[in-house]
C-alpha cells in the first residue's frame, strides 16, 4: 500500500510540476501583455520585461486612446459618389455580436432540426443526409475558398450579414452527430402522448423535443459563439463592409500607422497593440467566467467508423 502510494505520488508530482510550469508560462504571457499595454513606447523598447518606469508611469490612457482610435474607415459609394464609412470600436462590437449570435443560432439550430428529423422520422433521404455528414467529415476538401466566394457573390449573399448567417446554416460537422445521439436517447412516447392530446408534429418539436434539448443546444451554442466571436478571417473575406472587433484588432495591428493628435501617442506601437488585444479579450473572458461549467461540460466524439 505504501509502495503503491509512493508510485502514484511520483506520477502526480511530475504531472503537477509540468502542468504548473505550463500554467506559469501562460500566465506569464497574459500578465506581461497587460503590464506592457500600460507602458510608454520608450519603456517597452528599453525594458520590455520590467514594470513601467517612474518617468513613464502607468499609461492607463492607452485604453482610452485605443477605444477612440481602434476604428476602420471603409471606402464606399454613396448616391454614386465616393465616400467613407467609419466604424468605431462600439460599431465593431455590435457587428461582432450580430455575426456571432446569428451564425451561432443558425449553425446550432439547423443541425439540431435535421438531426431530429433523421432520427425520429423514417425516410429514405435520412441515410443520404447522414452519409453526407460523414463524407464531409472524413473527406478533406482543400482550397474551396475561391469557389465559395464566387458562389456567395453569385447568389447575392456576399457582404451581407444575413448572407453569412445563411452560409453557416448547414448540418455538416460533428455537432449533427452529437444531436443525433441526443435525440436517440429521447423516447418517442412523449410525442405519442402529444398526438393523443390533439397536438401535431410541430407541437412535439417545440413543446417537448426542443425544451429537452436546451442543455445540449446551449453547450454547443456557447462553443460556436466563442468560435465565431474570435473569428476574423471569415468576416474579412465575406463581410468586408461590416468589420468585426477581431478584424478591427487585425486591422489596427497591420494596417494602421497613425499618431493620436491629442496625446501624441504612436498608435502602431506595441503597447497600443497589446492594449487592443486586452480590450478584445475582456468580453469573451466575462462570458467564460459566467458560463465556465456549461462551456466545459462533457462533449465527447466517437471514432469515425463505417
Amino acid at each position: 500500500m505504501e509502495e503503491k502510494k509512493r508510485k502514484i505520488s511520483v506520477y502526480s508530482v511530475i504531472g503537477f510540476i509540468v502542468l504548473a510550469l505550463y500554467c506559469a508560462l501562460l500566465l506569464l504571457f497574459f500578465v506581461w501583455a497587460i503590464v506592457s499595454s500600460l507602458k510608454t513606447e520608450m519603456d517597452f523598447f528599453f525594458a520590455p520585461l520590467s514594470l513601467p518606469s517612474k518617468k513613464g508611469g502607468w499609461q492607463w490612457k492607452n485604453y482610452a486612446v485605443a477605444f477612440r482610435y481602434m476604428k476602420i474607415v471603409n471606402d464606399v459609394i454613396y448616391n454614386g459618389l465616393p465616400a467613407s464609412e467609419t466604424f468605431t470600436l462600439m460599431d465593431m462590437f455590435v457587428n461582432s455580436l450580430l455575426y456571432s449570435l446569428g451564425c451561432t443560432f443558425f449553425a446550432t439550430m439547423v443541425p439540431c432540426l435535421v438531426a431530429y428529423a433523421t432520427v425520429k422520422y423514417k425516410f429514405r433521404l435520412n441515410k443520404y443526409i447522414v452519409g453526407a455528414v460523414l463524407f464531409a467529415m472524413a473527406v478533406p476538401i482543400v482550397g474551396s475558398l475561391p469557389s465559395e466566394i464566387k458562389i456567395a457573390k453569385a447568389v447575392g449573399l456576399y457582404d451581407q450579414m444575413w448572407g453569412l448567417w445563411l452560409m453557416k446554416a448547414n448540418f455538416l460537422g460533428m455537432y449533427f452527430l452529437v444531436f443525433q445521439a441526443h435525440f436517440k436517447s429521447i423516447p418517442w412516447e412523449y410525442a405519442e402522448s402529444v398526438f393523443i392530446d390533439g397536438g401535431n408534429h410541430y407541437t412535439v418539436l417545440f413543446r417537448i423535443m426542443l425544451p429537452l434539448s436546451v442543455p445540449t443546444f446551449l453547450a454547443i451554442g456557447l462553443l460556436l459563439f466563442i468560435s465565431f466571436w474570435n473569428d476574423y478571417q471569415t468576416p474579412l473575406t465575406f463581410l468586408p463592409s461590416r468589420p468585426t472587433a477581431a478584424f478591427g484588432l487585425y486591422h489596427f495591428t497591420y494596417l494602421d500607422n497613425t499618431t493620436d493628435p491629442k496625446t501624441g501617442l504612436n498608435l502602431s506601437s506595441i503597447p497600443m497593440r497589446l492594449t487592443g488585444c486586452i480590450i478584445l479579450m475582456i468580453p469573451i473572458l466575462i462570458v467564460f467566467i459566467l458560463l465556465k461549467n456549461k462551456i466545459m461540460g462533457n462533449l465527447t466524439i466517437g471514432g469515425l467508423k463505417g
Partner: protein, 307 residues
C-alpha cells in the same frame, strides 16, 4: 397504388419543412462550391474577354512542374504544411494525453489546470498570436541575451527567417491543448470505474493503467483527432495570417496560408481563382487517399475493435 395515410402526409409535410432549406443550402454551398472548384481548376481566365475558357489539364501540369522545382513556393508550402502537422502531432498529442490523464485522475489542482488549459481555446487567435509574437520578439531576446551574454534576435523578426517556423510550431503546441484535453478527459471520464478499481486492486501503476486501460478505451477519440488532423494538413494556415498578415516570408508559407493570402490579397484576380482551385483540388487528391489509409490503419490497430 397504395393510398398515403393522413398521418404519413402529416409526417411528409413536417419532414420537408424541416430539411428543405438545409438541403438547398447544402446543394449550393457544398456540392455547388466543390463542383465550381472543379470547373475553375479546368479553366483559365481571359482578361481580354472577361470570361472563363476551358483549359484542360494545363493548370495541373503547371502546378506539378512548380512542385518539382526545388525551392518553389508551392513545394516549400507543402513541406511546411507537413512539417507543422508532424511536429505539433509528435509534441502536442503525448502532452495532451498526459495532461488529460492527470485531469481525469483528479490529481492535485486538476480543476485549476483544466481551466488554464482550456483558456487559450476561448481567446481569439489574433490576440494570442500578437501576445506571443511581441513576447518572442522583445522579451525573449532580452532574457536569452542576458543568459548567453550576446545579442539575440527576436524569433519572429523579418531578419531571422530561420527561427520563424520553429517559433510558429512552438505557438501551435503551447496554445493547442484546450479542446483536445477537454475531449480526451471527457472520453476518459466515461471509462467504467469498476474496470479501474479492479486494476487498482491488482496493484496497477498509473503508467500501466494509462497504457493498458485508459488509452485503449479512448482510442476512438484519439483516432478521430489523428484522422481530422491528417485531413486538414493542407488546410491549416498555422496562424501565419495572424502572425504576418500578407507579409509572411515565402519560406514560412503553408498551403492553407498560400491559398488564403492569395484570395484575400488586394491584387487577387479571377486568374488566381483558377490557379488556387487547381492547387486545392490537387492537394485534395493527395490528402483523400492518405486520410482513408490512416483511418483504416487506425481501425486495424484499434484495441477495442471487435474482430
Amino acid at each position: 397504388m397504395e393510398k398515403i395515410s393522413k398521418k404519413r402526409i402529416g409526417e411528409i409535410i413536417f419532414y420537408c419543412s424541416i430539411v428543405i432549406l438545409p438541403i438547398v443550402q447544402f446543394c449550393i454551398f457544398y456540392i455547388g462550391t466543390n463542383l465550381n472548384s472543379f470547373r475553375l481548376a479546368f479553366s483559365r481566365w481571359s482578361s481580354a474577354d472577361h470570361k472563363y475558357y476551358a483549359n484542360g489539364f494545363k493548370n495541373f501540369s503547371s502546378i506539378i512542374r512548380d512542385l518539382k522545382t526545388p525551392g518553389s513556393v508551392l513545394l516549400l508550402s507543402a513541406k511546411n504544411s507537413v512539417r507543422y502537422y508532424f511536429w505539433t502531432l509528435i509534441i502536442g498529442t503525448p502532452l495532451a494525453l498526459f495532461f488529460s490523464f492527470y485531469i481525469y485522475k483528479k490529481m492535485r489542482g486538476h480543476a485549476f489546470f483544466q481551466v488554464m488549459l482550456f483558456l487559450p481555446s476561448i481567446i481569439s487567435n489574433i490576440v494570442l498570436v500578437l501576445i506571443f509574437k511581441y513576447f518572442a520578439n522583445n522579451a525573449f531576446p532580452k532574457v536569452m541575451s542576458s543568459i548567453a551574454h550576446k545579442e539575440i534576435q527576436g524569433l519572429l523578426v523579418s531578419s531571422s527567417v530561420a527561427t520563424h517556423f520553429p517559433a510558429i510550431i512552438a505557438y501551435g503546441v503551447i496554445f493547442s491543448f484546450g479542446t483536445n484535453v477537454l475531449l480526451y478527459s471527457g472520453a476518459m471520464a466515461k471509462i467504467p470505474p469498476e474496470v479501474v478499481e479492479a486494476a487498482e486492486l491488482d496493484g496497477i501503476t498509473p503508467l500501466k493503467e494509462f497504457f493498458f486501460i485508459t488509452f485503449p478505451m479512448v482510442f476512438s477519440t484519439f483516432s478521430t483527432f489523428i484522422v481530422v488532423g491528417v485531413a486538414g494538413v493542407f488546410v491549416n494556415q498555422a496562424s501565419l495570417y495572424s502572425f504576418f498578415g500578407e507579409g509572411a516570408a515565402y519560406q514560412d508559407y503553408t498551403i492553407g496560408y498560400y491559398i488564403y493570402k492569395t484570395v484575400n490579397g488586394a491584387m487577387a484576380t479571377n486568374a488566381d481563382y483558377c490557379h488556387l482551385s487547381t492547387v486545392g483540388l490537387l492537394f485534395s487528391f493527395i490528402t483523400i487517399p492518405i486520410t482513408i489509409l490512416v483511418r483504416s490503419l487506425l481501425n486495424r490497430i484499434d484495441p477495442t475493435e471487435v474482430r
